[in-house]
Symmetry: C3
Subunit: 312 residues, 3 copies
């Protein structure tokens, strides 16, 4: 594997899950593999879990890490071709990506969508520019449309916690006050489509994800119906895809409660707004997997980095 | 020892001082102790000495470090229970603390007081939330009411520089233009109360520290009287505790000068505003211990981390 | 060598170039040299290449690194002597430099000029204060008037790419919309003056660099004439030195194009504004050395750190 930028970079999700579980049992088994190799983590946006778990994964592999907040630490970066750069951007990604490639062995990058320019977001301008102009492998730490480290993490967590061969997994849209990206939802959908689960999506009308991603996955606009007999309920807000980036609904009737999910395991990528996305009773209850999910972030990232290092 | 959050976590200050001095003589003696262990340093506020010395202490123990400015790098954190999180905070400390615990072996945290909400500050909401919800040891890198790494450092510095069995130590309030926390003053008071010194406090009327902390320690409102025959003068500004967070006095008549302290050693935790808190002549003179104090920050932090690592 | 703050700290540029090339061939040859030594990187200004390449250089030497954005992470620093610090600065450089010296073995520092206070910039107040008050070696990562890691890098790059014994090297001013420092231009001039090259400078009238730096180097105000038969063209904008910090000219007639430079190799320190300083066709063409230059930043920094470590 060269880059890890999309769930489709996972060639066999079941074998990856088993490999990640093995790393979790023995995190330091490959401590020599990354010796004298450097991972650069470039953040265009805020991060807690991704920032820390990806660093921890690199440390478990014996790698050195260099972290940079691109906005703030460095220069405004230009992504358009042929621009006369007489505005606010001071460095073109052609140079930035090529330059950073020379100081490290792998580049991990986080760059959220605009949520205003649908074409630019769909084209993954930032991520794809780095892929194009960097000379080292790229890891996606959440791009405009995709969060494949999270999607893989979620697959691991479901595998660890399932109590039947083919559990029912529901991805439910949940309320939020701000316009949020589709990346986590997209990657979760794509991960579930690769797993042996009964998978459905619940979201209000006007909130369907990109049909090129949801494909044949059933979409319910009735949350209660979708949640029936669920084994896992994954809550996540996203803004409208059709009315791109718009918040169409802010009332709390889609908030996840104990009554709604019954005995199902509750999942969320975090950060989560309590009593907006999900009630305290769910997060503080025994069926919440959110902390365990965040723990698995380390081993998802570690397996990805391991596969990249083995291929350098 | 699990957490180090208060001077009272020091079970025997004299033996701790001797152990810290031993580390200072041979900083790398425990370089294997922290191997493959990670310290996360979380900053809600600015830091120079604490940031660098705590990292250095961890490196001396062979630990890896991950540094994060919580405000800026990550999400606004909510500390109140039961809130409907539809405002500016995006993640609850319940999740944040539990999550970070999974990526590191020890969490060090800096979070200053509000200086407007006395109850919240007294309750150490941020620090105590991390203690409550984290699953790994917590080190206090200055909280709302306490700076125990500084207090322990100061005890080491006095022990190293005393020329008589029971020196006289004076903590003197000094002027400043801004409202400053009580944390350094509080921890210094508590450290001195554990040492074999003659200890008094000097501050203007209206500036008494929390009486639950000062206890039986004599408080003078006449600086000259308090400073008489002092062996060590520790200068520090703090805002009013009674009129909580208020600046009642900005004239410079309490500024420390050579004339005031005579042959006493001068101490300050730094950063210090020259010619406001203390005159140039004192800081640039032979009796200033401020640089040596800052050097001892490394070994205070190193001993604390060592004791935590030994107990993991 | 104690400090590396100016091109004049290079005692023999040809032997340094050969040593740097040897490090480039075998970057990990001195991986034991910096073991348990710490480099502090202090940034008063933004940085991409310098930030990453200097960290990488330190890692190649086995050093630990601690990075700090002084503005933001720490306190406002005062540089004037004798000030009553009742304004926005909270810590004097006398303390800051002495304190940081105790937590690390080498301090690298970036501090741009004011471009408004010529005397202050000429006096290198920030850099020289650190040199004066620190007790460990100082490396200049670009100061008010000098960028000697870049200048040395450029000398390496010219040495690697020259195809004749004494190539013609032209430093050409180029357009920009903002007022930029003179540091890169100055250090490049000083590096070229030490090399066996035919070196000339081209800049519009009013844009001559400090004559104490350019000395006998020919200065052309006719760009075309200067570029004739050039083997290397180094483009760089700077603001006026005579009308200090002023931008006198923003039209693009001095922009570097393929037609202007012909077969000459193109150099720039980056970041570069495309189609303002230089046309896309040049940067994307075969004669651009800019990415290779940035790669050499690592080995320039590594040699400097190596020489400092050998002398500790």
């Amino acid at each position: 594997m060269k880059n890890y930028t999309h769930i489709n970079d996972i060639d066999n999700i079941n074998s990856w899950i088993e490999e990640a579980k093995a790393l979790k049992k023995n995190p330091l088994q490959d401590i020599e593999l990354g010796k004298n190799k450097t991972l650069a983590l470039l953040f265009f946006n805020a991060s807690l879990r991704t920032r820390l778990s990806t660093q921890k994964a690199a440390l478990n592999l014996g790698m050195d890490t260099i972290v940079m907040n691109v906005s703030g630490d460095a220069w405004g970066i230009e992504f358009e071709d042929g621009t006369v750069m007489n505005g606010t951007t001071a460095e073109h990604v052609k140079e930035a990506a090529a330059v950073v490639s020379q100081y490290c062995d792998v580049i991990a990058i986080r760059a959220f969508p605009t949520l205003t320019d649908k074409e630019r977001d769909k084209n993954e301008v930032v991520l794809n520019s780095f892929i194009k102009y960097a000379s080292v492998p790229i890891v996606n730490m959440e791009s405009a449309t995709s969060h494949p480290l999270q999607g893989f993490t979620d697959a691991i967590s479901i595998s660890e916690n399932k109590t039947k061969k083919k559990p029912k997994v529901v991805l439910s849209w949940a309320p939020h006050i701000k316009a949020l990206p589709h990346a986590v939802g997209n990657s979760f959908v794509q991960a579930m489509q690769k797993m042996d689960v009964e998978f459905v999506i619940a979201n209000p009308e006007g909130y369907n994800l990109d049909p090129k991603i949801t494909k044949e996955t059933p979409i319910y606009h009735n949350q209660e119906e979708a949640l029936k007999d669920a084994d896992f309920v994954y809550a996540k807000n996203w803004s409208s895809y059709d009315e791109y980036g718009k918040v169409l609904k802010t009332d709390l009737d889609w908030m996840i409660t104990n009554k709604k999910i019954g005995d199902a395991k509750f999942m969320h990528c975090l950060p989560v707004r309590r009593n907006v996305v999900v009630a305290d009773e769910v997060l503080d209850g025994e069926n919440s997997l959110v902390i365990e999910q965040s723990n698995n972030r380390t081993f998802a990232a570690q397996l990805v980095l391991k596969k990249i290092l083995e291929n350098l």
